[in-house]
Symmetry: C2
Subunit: 338 residues, 2 copies
């Protein structure tokens, strides 16, 4: 499998990105297309990999920064690592693209340069949120706002396929993020989406409340990108704040420092269970190519896991399954209207 | 000040509700109107308060349960503690109403039985979220969905008045919950609301991200009730999950148990800083009467603090200020249209 990697994107680029890529190459046999400034790549790439048959260096002279306006950056910086990487997928030279760079540019670029799977109205950014029981896909987490019920129906199908094929969860529980459990609850979007998803071939468990996502009440949490973003960012913010509070409290006295020492392993375990680098990046589902958005702060392990995700998506032909299921939806929808 | 209390609402009713009310009477001199089943009240009320001049028992023979459909419950159970309490405010016999009962019935009942302040389109449920720097009012947290920009503008004004008058924060920072900091970010609602709030006489700090609320980036977080509900419930869920994880980890071995013992006070401090009973209940702002929704799991202290809140709202004539400022908004809006 051939993977294009945006070597220049992310807080720890290019070092951690290259290290993670090489780890993935060794562990999963992925063929690497390292896209970025050749000089930089050569500086960080181990000697033994410079002429490796599974490592290609693809020169791209520009870099898109996180604070640039996404669409204009994609359009103007044609030789950026982001655009060159996306084009490798578009042209069929690579099977997947992984980037820890600007999320906005990644989303805009994927849409503009690679395009959607036929029948998909709006591709969705779909990160995995750690829960007490494993993880839950939040779909959509911010690629789209002002979504329509039909979009949410497609999210339900794509999320379900991902969790089954990539995460190995049989018959994934699909929940609709809402204010309460009753079908009549919510805003216009959720009320209409509820009815639509209920008649879709997924294991729909009904409305789920934000409070219960972290407890693992569902495997796929379907929502508009605005709400999904609030869910995701709040989880991140609260977890970070609590760890900060713990740290402050534990440094207060000799007694607390001793206590903290005894609990070091426990605290590490907890931090690990809230660590998104463990689950890899967020797939951008619905794009006609395997797109993985790694977190901006990704380290080598997170990049490696992102490539692992891409490989499972590829090996299981998930995009084909999505395309097939979405066509079925379309036919069903037409039938219903008839 | 005369306060009507729904003695029958909440997980710990009527005992904790009565205890908290009596505490508030003694501490703040509030005149209590205890609304509920007379027998139950007499069972839990201390002998010395049964003939107290500041304690009145108001018989109400019915109870609205949390799982009842709110509007029909309010309409059919005319002699419920909720409806009788609300009517005391409506009729001018009491200055405020406090309930830990069904949130839906509380919201519907306040609207149907007491009504809105003139000029307010949609009253907002406005709980205080604990942050690393104090607390942040989330307005609206679920009373309204599918809000309009004008609603959010009114939330901004009401939230600002509350945080200044009740919480003593000078020039409160008002933020708009959004996907990113730039003014152009977000959905149709937030884009239009941004422009409107920017031209409103509050200390508008622009868009705020869900991740930063807990860090204390603003004193008032303005949002549609759907997003506000996700923000609030996620915070609650993640905090609870983390405490659960900590507890599990700390009970694993003798070593961790010893460590936890040494850190007991620290852990209590942290739990306290995420404890909503400390800040009282959620005011339902925009109703033409002081309405405090205490958390369903309120203990006596939470009830006492809820009554304290009601008293500060009353003493500072907050509702009058809201009414005045909302009228000004109306005039400004009309001017702009002219």
């Amino acid at each position: 499998m051939r993977i294009a990697i945006d070597v220049m994107g992310g807080d720890n680029a290019p070092g951690a990105i290259i290290d993670g890529s090489v780890m993935a190459m060794k562990e999963y046999g992925a063929e690497l297309y390292l896209v970025g400034l050749r000089e930089e790549i050569l500086k960080y790439l181990g000697e033994e990999y410079k002429k490796h048959q599974k490592v290609k260096i693809i020169e791209a002279s520009e870099i898109i920064n996180v604070d640039e306006a996404p669409v204009s950056a994609i359009k103007s910086k044609k030789d950026s690592s982001m655009v060159v990487g996306l084009k490798l997928v578009k042209d069929g030279q690579c099977d997947a693209f992984v980037s820890a760079g600007s999320t906005g540019a990644f989303l805009a670029g994927s849409l503009l340069k690679v395009g959607r799977i036929k029948g998909i109205d709006r591709p969705a950014l779909s990160p995995l949120l750690p829960t007490l029981k494993g993880s839950c896909m939040v779909i959509d987490a911010g690629a789209n706002v002002d979504s329509k019920p039909k979009n949410l129906q497609q999210y339900a199908v794509m999320g379900s396929i991902y969790m089954e094929k990539v995460m190995g969860i049989k018959n994934p529980r699909v929940g609709l993020l809402n204010l309460g459990a009753e079908a009549s609850k919510g805003n216009e979007l959720t009320k209409q989406s509820y009815a639509l998803i209920k008649n879709t071939d997924v294991n729909f468990v009904g409305n789920v409340e934000a409070r219960d996502i972290v407890s693992g009440v569902c495997d796929v949490c379907v929502c508009d990108g605005f709400a999904g973003n609030v869910l995701l960012k709040t989880t991140e913010g609260v977890a970070m704040a609590l760890f900060k509070l713990l740290k402050n409290e534990f440094m207060k006295s000799l007694k607390t420092k001793l206590g903290a020492m005894l609990l070091m392993d426990s605290l590490k375990n907890i931090k690990k269970s809230f660590d998104y680098t463990e689950v890899g990046g967020a797939p951008f589902l619905g794009i006609n190519g395997i797109m993985i958005k790694a977190h901006g702060s990704s380290d080598a392990k997170a990049v490696k896991n992102g490539i692992r995700q891409a490989k499972i998506l590829y090996d299981n032909r998930c995009l084909d399954t999505i395309a097939e299921e979405i066509i079925k939806l379309g036919v069903e929808n037409t039938d219903e209207r008839a």
